[in-house]
Amino acid sequence: MIELPGLWYPKHSAAQSAALLELDSQVFRLRVDGEILDQGEAGTLSFSQRVGNIPRRISFADGSVLVCDDNDRIDQWLAQARHSDQRFNILHRLESQWRWIALSIVLVLGLSAAFVWKGIPWLSGEIAAALPTDVYQSLGTGTLAGLDKWLLAESELPAHRQQQLSGRFEQILAATEHQDYRFKLHFRAIKDLPNAFALPSGDIVVTDELIALAERDEEIDAVLLHEIAHVLQRHGLQRVIHSSAITVIVTLLLGDATSLSGIAVALPTFLLESSYSREQESEADEFALQQMVQQGIDPVHFASIMRKFLATETPAADGKAPLDDDEDSVTEVNNYLSSHPATEQRIQRALEFSRQHQE
């Protein structure tokens, strides 16, 4: 038999009395001031789960409660008496033994790392690939109209030039085996912004400023192939999945870290999202460069349009400002901050392909 000293409260009442709960494996007896107040089968008692060393609530059938902080004795008794509330104590056992804690630390770090670096990209890739092409075609039908209203101006490119470029677009597109996607090239203008971007539906927008920047049509081909890759590899949806997954995970891990400071949460979120984005850009670059080699367009043109982006100090394709400079030590830092890989690296990669092309 064990004796648990505690404070006893009648149902719903704050009036407390010092009490003693006597427990053996079958029956309990509750004493207040030495007098027996209640007794019965021990199985009718219910015990709150143990968390750390906070006081436990032991509830009686009549709704009264004994609060007792002798956690170890309670747990001992629960185990001996095989009380049904004992089954939850597994959580406390996990939480109180350092070998389980050590294992938890290793598993949490490992799982988070694996999930962030492999799991999220894999999951978003699978989901994006599983959706039928029809869904993508219907996605964002309103997006271009919205952009036209707020951001894009009409193209001032002469009709014959538009036709000529659309023709080239169809040609490079035909060679990419794009299955059943319906691609369409749109000409628009954004002041001072040589740019091109793709919508998940296969609508690709190129600005007059970009066409003016390019000295040769092969340079435009390079940019368009990069954008085609984003559509075919379904990067748009993947990015949505990435950012929702990261938000959920960081919130889960740090919980109400907002009470600490937003910095602790915002920084890892931002770093991870730019890391995924950089991977997508590299993927799209690889696709574009391979296609150029296959289609007999010298990848050197990819390098030359990149150089021009760099010179105008405007964002490369997709309208996100790359923070990269060609200062080496800073590039090292910026690699982790930038949404695009360093332009110089992209140029070098293109030149490698170019050598391959010439051989």
Binding site: Q16, V240, T258, S261
Partner: protein, 387 residues
């Protein structure tokens, strides 16, 4: 009674320990990961029970009584809504606007539900806290009040437009005072919501009361705003000086516009650290002023007066060291940070009681709703957001 005039001060105490909470926290995370987030409801309950159960007043600990199932229900609804919203907003921005409108309409209900839930799940000495506020004021304070300045500007704009007295461009300029007024009214919204919450909260039969005005909110935000502006100006000035110095020193052998890279990185990092510290300081300043004001205004049956003695410097020190702990340990130090914050808050909180605290509390009984707690819980979504 003579003894009613004696006031006793009772100090809140927090007895949690970082190492102990770390073990609970890491198991919470592991099981949450392994169950793909479902365990998070259990994790929340364990975390809350740990912090409530380790906070005590007059030797008696607080209790958190929610069950994980209540919280799980609320979370599932929230996650479903989040997924739908993020997909829709990405692909159909216009439809997402409609969803946002829907969310705006639901927000007061969610907030009300959350206040009610969290209050009712808290207990002290076997007696629950409760919240009996009606939903109407939440809609008024959160949806109507902030819209009033915008509505006035819109009406004014229409009138001016149709009378043709003023050109369209000048009417468009009206949006500036409109938006300004919107921001100016937010402290009032906050003050009214705080007053609404406190004045409809109860402990047993005891009712909390507080006269909350918006004055403290306005002076606090004004000061925080002025300090921010002051720092920003100082910042820009220093940056300008630094870049001038850089330009002069690099004139000889470097290309124009290029600076030595070592110093530039160091300056960037230093500037970032300084900025973050300033924001943390301002965060602490606002939190301290408002908390002290609210606590010092709050009493229970005019028998029991809360007191908060926080100081900006003290809270700033806790915030700053906590941020460092979390960053330097790659997040693993979070439990220590959370415990330090809870301990600081408890240390700075006390209650003045007329007469005997225990004597007063003893008279309280849990407020019984007509439906009974069990039925109430069944309909509860366990919505749980921090205000």
């Amino acid at each position: 009674m003579a003894e009613a005039y004696n006031t006793n001060s009772s100090q809140f105490e927090f007895s949690g320990r970082g190492g102990e909470y770390f073990k609970i926290w890491i198991v919470n995370i592991l099981l949450t990961l392994l169950t793909l987030g479902i365990y998070s409801a259990w994790a929340t309950v364990r975390k809350r029970r740990y912090f409530y159960g380790n906070t005590s007043l007059d030797g008696n600990a607080f209790e958190y009584l929610a069950t994980p199932w209540m919280i799980l229900k609320g979370r599932l609804v929230a996650v479903a809504a989040l997924i739908i919203y993020s997909l829709v907003s990405h692909f159909y921005p216009l439809a997402a606007l409609a969803l946002l409108l829907l969310l705006a309409l639901a927000a007061p209900w969610i907030i009300w539900n959350s206040i009610r839930f969290n209050t009712r799940m808290s207990a002290y000495r076997n007696v629950r806290f409760s919240f009996y506020g009606k939903i109407g004021p939440v809609y008024f304070n959160i949806l109507m009040l902030p819209l009033i300045p915008l509505l006035i500007t819109a009406v004014l704009g229409f009138v001016l437009y149709f009378t043709g007295l003023v050109s369209e461009q000048k009417i468009a300029l009206l949006t500036i005072p409109g938006i300004l007024a919107f921001y100016l009214i937010l402290p009032l919204v906050q003050a009214r919501m705080a007053g609404y919450f406190i004045n409809h909260a109860a402990f047993g039969q005891g009712k909390f009361t507080a006269e909350i005005g918006a004055g403290t909110y306005y002076t606090t935000y004004l000061k925080a705003f002025l300090i921010t502006i002051g720092f920003l100006i100082a910042f820009v000035a220093i940056a300008a000086l630094a870049s001038m110095a850089g330009a002069i020193s690099s004139m000889g052998n470097m290309q124009p516009g290029q600076m030595p890279q070592g110093p530039i990185v160091a300056i960037m990092i230093l500037a970032y650290v300084l900025m973050v510290s300033i924001f943390i300081w301002i965060g602490a300043f606002v939190a301290v002023r408002i908390r002290n004001y609210l606590f010092d205004s709050t009493s229970l049956d005019r028998n029991f007066q809360l007191q908060s003695t926080m100081a900006t410097a003290g809270l700033f020190k806790v915030y700053l060291t906590n941020t460092l702990i979390v960053i330097l340990t790659l997040g693993l130090g979070f439990p220590w940070a959370a415990v330090r914050l809870a301990r600081y808050k408890a240390e700075q909180t006390s209650a003045e009681v007329a007469g005997d605290l225990s004597g007063y509390v003893t008279q309280q009984q849990s407020y019984q709703s007509a439906l009974g707690d069990e039925l109430g819980d069944a309909f509860d979504l366990g919505m749980d957001i921090a205000l």
